[in-house]
Symmetry: C2
Subunit: 242 residues, 2 copies
DNA sequence: TGAGTTATAGTCGTTATGACCCTAACAAGT
DNA sequence: ACTTGTTAGGGTCATAACGACTATAACTCA
């Protein structure tokens, strides 16, 4: 491992390592009332791909874990803390960047809508609908597409959906998350039946007032609130050793 | 990204990047006739952890993709080509190695038993039962445990199991794979019913002669034979760009 | 010839799932 | 005050999947 290469050789041989993060949040379309998936992108202020939009990211600090670096991406970009953060994939193709050999370990995060509303666009940070995030720098189009695919796969039977919502939520809101992610209509009655039986949610004694219809009951998520869902068994945080 | 750090700073800051591979193969216990999961380990010939057993691995070459590096691990260790190769996880904890900051992108591979029988132990390469692969160097115990967990999760409804077997196989052999991975007994009749309906296997007109019971029919896998199963949608091979 | 073992087919009760219906509870308009 | 529209939340029914189990077929070995 510690080969006998000298400094200049290692300089040219060793691929650069960076951490990027796909940050998903839910926003409600004011006109239709439907939930949609959004994500923040940052404008490239250097070559290559100057001016294009790209995923938040940067080099890995010497004294931070992979997950910490991803959290830092999130804070730097949106000033938010994630409710869900998990490793997505390591991308290391030879031609990812024209200027250097670059390996990116990509994380994906979910943030709550109440937090996401606080995050404002700036000149170099802008939120996009996930479906409209195309034409990005590097291979980020493919990374976003893969992150969406993984999100769809995870929501099916994980506890991921709750991390899109606040602490208390109605079943209609939760169903909106599923519909936004899966892209199809779900029967309200069947949806209710499934959730009431399987997953770890509990009804509170409160209802949501102020709507123009029958006030829906508020529910609360009682399962693990950590980064990774229990269904997919990501190693606890960061494991030590090569 | 291209920070203004000079060469010596980058030398000390940039974490080393390595690729490791967990290689699983099936072997049949001669006494019980049951299938078991084995994997090859290599003996460390340097510090740290000199003399301990470790996963095959090494640095990432400047002109090879992540997947190519994993394939190379496999060839160098076992002289085998994988029938299945997929990225497992990137491990990057701060204290993985005492001597340096090391980030390892770990792949996992499946090889067929007919190939695995060819691979012989040498002084520095030895095959272990997966359950007995403990006390390894670095954090490799945890990596193996996680790979097994992922294997269990994938076999449930993927096409992974077939990659443990040769081109033609009996349903009992296939069931043996599932039982070895899941660690529990499966009803032969129900197992048959499930596979006949859902997955992509086809009966051949041959049977396996030579056993001491009724000769079982041979089946053939007709699905995709590539690295990643279609159910989990890993990005096609390697994607370019940071 | 019979005993033992595995292959393979079928049965039956339970459970999950999708499509559909009905009533409750509210706001807004008449 | 009453009607209407809309969503919340409870239920039914047929179908599909699943686990446990039984039965028969096909082979080897003693």
């Amino acid at each position: 491992m510690h080969s006998s290469a000298n400094v200049s050789e290692r300089q040219s041989q060793a691929p650069s390592l960076a951490i990027s993060t796909v940050i998903f949040a839910l926003r409600t379309d004011p006109s239709t009332g439907r939930s949609e998936i959004w994500l923040p992108l940052v404008r490239r202020i250097r070559q290559p791909h100057l001016g294009k939009w790209a995923l938040p990211g940067g080099p890995l600090g010497a004294r931070e874990s992979l997950q910490d670096a991803a959290s830092r991406n999130l804070r730097d970009t949106t000033a938010l803390d994630p409710t869900y953060l998990e490793q997505l994939y390591a991308f290391g193709g030879l031609d990812r960047s024209a200027t250097q050999r670059l390996v990116s370990i990509v994380y994906w995060a979910l943030v709550r809508p109440d937090q996401a509303d606080l995050a404002r666009d700036s000149e170099n940070v802008r939120w996009f609908r996930a479906a409209e995030a195309v034409g990005l720098a590097f291979d980020h189009d493919e990374i976003v597409a893969y992150a969406l695919e993984r999100l769809r796969g995870k929501i099916a039977y994980g506890s991921v959906a709750f991390h899109f919502l606040g602490e208390r939520f109605t079943l209609a809101q939760l169903r909106g998350v599923y519909e936004a992610v899966l892209g199809k209509h779900l029967d309200p009655a069947n949806f209710r039946r499934q959730l009431r039986s399987a997953t770890d949610i509990a009804a509170t004694d409160e209802v949501l007032q102020g709507g123009r219809n029958r006030p829906p009951r508020l529910y609360r998520y009682t399962g693990p609130h950590s980064g990774a869902s229990p269904t997919d068994a990501v190693p606890a945080a960061q494991a030590p050793g090569p």
